[in-house]
């Protein structure tokens, strides 16, 4: 009954001469929330971008529901890193969320009132309706992240890719985002999240994928989220600092 949504086979990718992904293979099942974790430069964002065709792949194959990305892209939502766009751009929050509907509206058509309502509903879900007509440059970092999430919700996709949605946001935004992710999961949607905070992995995610240029471990959080897997993924020069049940990693060498 749990069918695979994503098949990744032997995927590799590089930036100029640096190979950042090597023989990456994994499958993701429907209705799961997976955290992609790994050290800086492990290729987490590159993995997502390569799967979505935003970065060229060297080898390998990625399929969604057995189809190519091109055939499946209408059912896929993407939340880029907040820092990837210029927030000085002259537009308001509602307008950014409406962008999530452009694919459905069709090119060279003007968004209708109904589209604006849909966008407004997505903003409401993120608790942002009172900021609908606020300039995006005047939003705080957490609010900007919520706008990005709302845009993805407006897309009404089956599968979501999110690049560090919890990076640098305050506690209430983190809570709001996690509530939405759980809601997506209970609606049978599949979510992949690039994540940096190991401490919250067991609480937030039911699956975890350890990545450092290649896949070190992947599976249900209860089974694979172990000290051993964390240590091997983050490199041999890391050592554990036990603080109760908190996961803290320190580098012993520089």
């Amino acid at each position: 009954m749990l069918s695979s949504v994503i098949h990744v086979d032997d995927l590799s990718a590089s930036y100029q001469k640096n190979k950042v992904l090597n023989d990456v293979s994994f499958e993701v099942k429907k209705g799961t929330i997976t955290a992609i974790v790994g050290p800086n430069g492990a290729g987490k964002s590159t993995l997502i971008k390569t799967m979505l065709g935003l970065h060229p792949k060297l080898t390998g194959n990625v399929s969604f529901w057995g189809n190519s990305f091109k055939a499946a892209k209408k059912k896929i939502g993407y939340v880029p890193q907040r820092g990837s766009v210029d927030w000085d751009f002259p537009t308001d929050a509602l307008d950014v969320v409406t962008m999530g509907l452009y694919g459905k509206i069709g090119w060279f058509r003007i968004p209708s009132k109904k589209d604006k309502e849909k966008a407004m509903n997505a903003l409401k879900k993120m608790g942002m309706e009172s900021y609908a007509h606020r300039q995006i440059s005047q939003l705080s970092g957490g609010q900007q992240q919520r706008v990005f999430l709302a845009r993805a919700l407006a897309q009404d996709a089956e599968l979501y890719f999110m690049d560090e949605p919890l990076a640098g946001v305050d506690a209430s935004t983190e809570k709001a985002i996690m509530t939405i992710l759980k809601e997506l999961k209970s609606n049978g949607k599949t979510v992949l999240v690039v994540h940096h905070d190991l401490q919250t992995v067991p609480e937030y995610f039911d699956h975890v994928l350890f990545l450092n240029k290649t896949v070190y471990a992947h599976g249900e959080t209860e089974e694979v989220f172990t000290k051993d897997n964390i240590a091997t993924t983050y490199g041999g020069d890391m050592q554990w600092v036990g603080k109760g049940d908190q996961y803290v990693i320190q580098s012993t060498s520089h």
Partner: protein, 308 residues
């Protein structure tokens, strides 16, 4: 002076620089948010050799053919900039600076050769450097107006596509907008606007027609659509007004007057623009200061009252 306005030829020329200004103002906003203001300067300088080579080949001044020559040479310049940047350690601004001056140098050199050729001296090719709208004949005006109208149409028909492409190209690609296609379209409209403008405004000042209206419009609005509309209006009015001023004396170049007109609009915007204009910001700051001082005083007197 006003009698100029009644002259039918002046009206024609003013209409054409106005529609050029509208197109340049609109495309200037796209270039502004693509962070490619300097690129338009490099492209317009790179267009000069193409104009002269086209003239040397056809031996007459047919604006459409000269414009095609200019476009090819500007695209060659764009290709060099792209190629230098991706294939070597040279950064984009260095590549632009080099391409701009080398192409312009070649253009001026070819111009000297063309001016020595029979008929070259009267060809008015020199006008392409500083711009002389009055030198345009009716067929030039028609060529310019038609091409500018196409550019304006492309900008306005794909409003939301431009917005998405400029704000978040990765997301745009994810939902199926062809970024390569948009880049090609952007380069085509940019180069078209530049090359149709160089006879009236000149290769040296053409970039100002794209940059100044866009940055002036930025001071008045927080909406992308309004910014494009305002920028087009500023560009159009500057084009018409600058042309009219230059037509009042014989031999006055058009380009500088258009640029000075839009620079005047920019100065007003910089000080009085409602979004972050210098004066407005100062007034807002002073008002804030006063109100927080009042708050402070109230708090102080309130405290005083309690302690007594």
């Amino acid at each position: 002076m006003l009698s100029n306005l009644l002259h039918i030829n002046t009206l024609w020329v003013m209409a054409s620089t106005m529609i050029l200004g509208i197109a340049a103002g609109g495309i200037g906003c796209l270039a502004y948010w693509k962070r490619q203001n300097l690129m338009s300067d490099a492209l317009s300088h790179a267009a000069l050799p193409g104009v002269v080579v086209a003239f040397l080949i056809i031996q007459e001044k047919n604006l459409l053919l000269l414009v095609i020559g200019a476009a090819l040479s500007a695209l060659l310049g764009a290709f060099f900039i792209q190629w230098f940047t991706s294939a070597s350690r040279i950064t984009e601004d260095t590549a632009m600076g080099m391409t701009l001056s080398v192409f312009y140098g070649v253009g001026v050199m070819l111009l000297a050769i063309a001016n020595r050729s029979p008929g070259g001296n009267q060809s008015g090719l020199n006008n392409f450097i500083y711009g002389q709208a009055a030198a345009m004949v009716r067929s030039d005006v028609i060529t310019m107006v038609v091409l500018a109208a196409i550019v304006i149409f492309i900008i306005f028909i794909a409003f939301k596509e431009w917005k998405l492409f400029l704000f978040d190209p990765d997301f745009a690609k994810g939902i199926g907008l062809s970024i390569r296609g948009m880049n090609v379209l952007y380069t085509i409209v940019l180069v078209t606007t530049i090359v149709i403008g160089i006879q009236a405004v000149g290769v040296i000042l053409m970039a100002a027609m794209l940059i100044i209206p866009a940055v002036s419009a930025r001071y008045w609005t927080h909406s992308f659509k309004m910014m494009i509309l305002l920028s087009s209006v500023i560009g159009g009015l500057s084009g018409a007004f600058g042309t009219w001023v230059s037509s009042t004396g014989s031999g006055l170049p058009t380009g500088p007057f258009i640029v000075l007109t839009s620079a005047a609009v920019f100065t007003i915007s910089l000080f009085f623009g409602k979004e972050h204009g210098i004066v407005i910001r100062y007034i807002q700051f002073k008002m804030q200061q006063r109100s927080s001082r009042l708050d402070h005083q109230q708090v102080m007197t309130g405290k005083g009252g309690r302690s007594q």
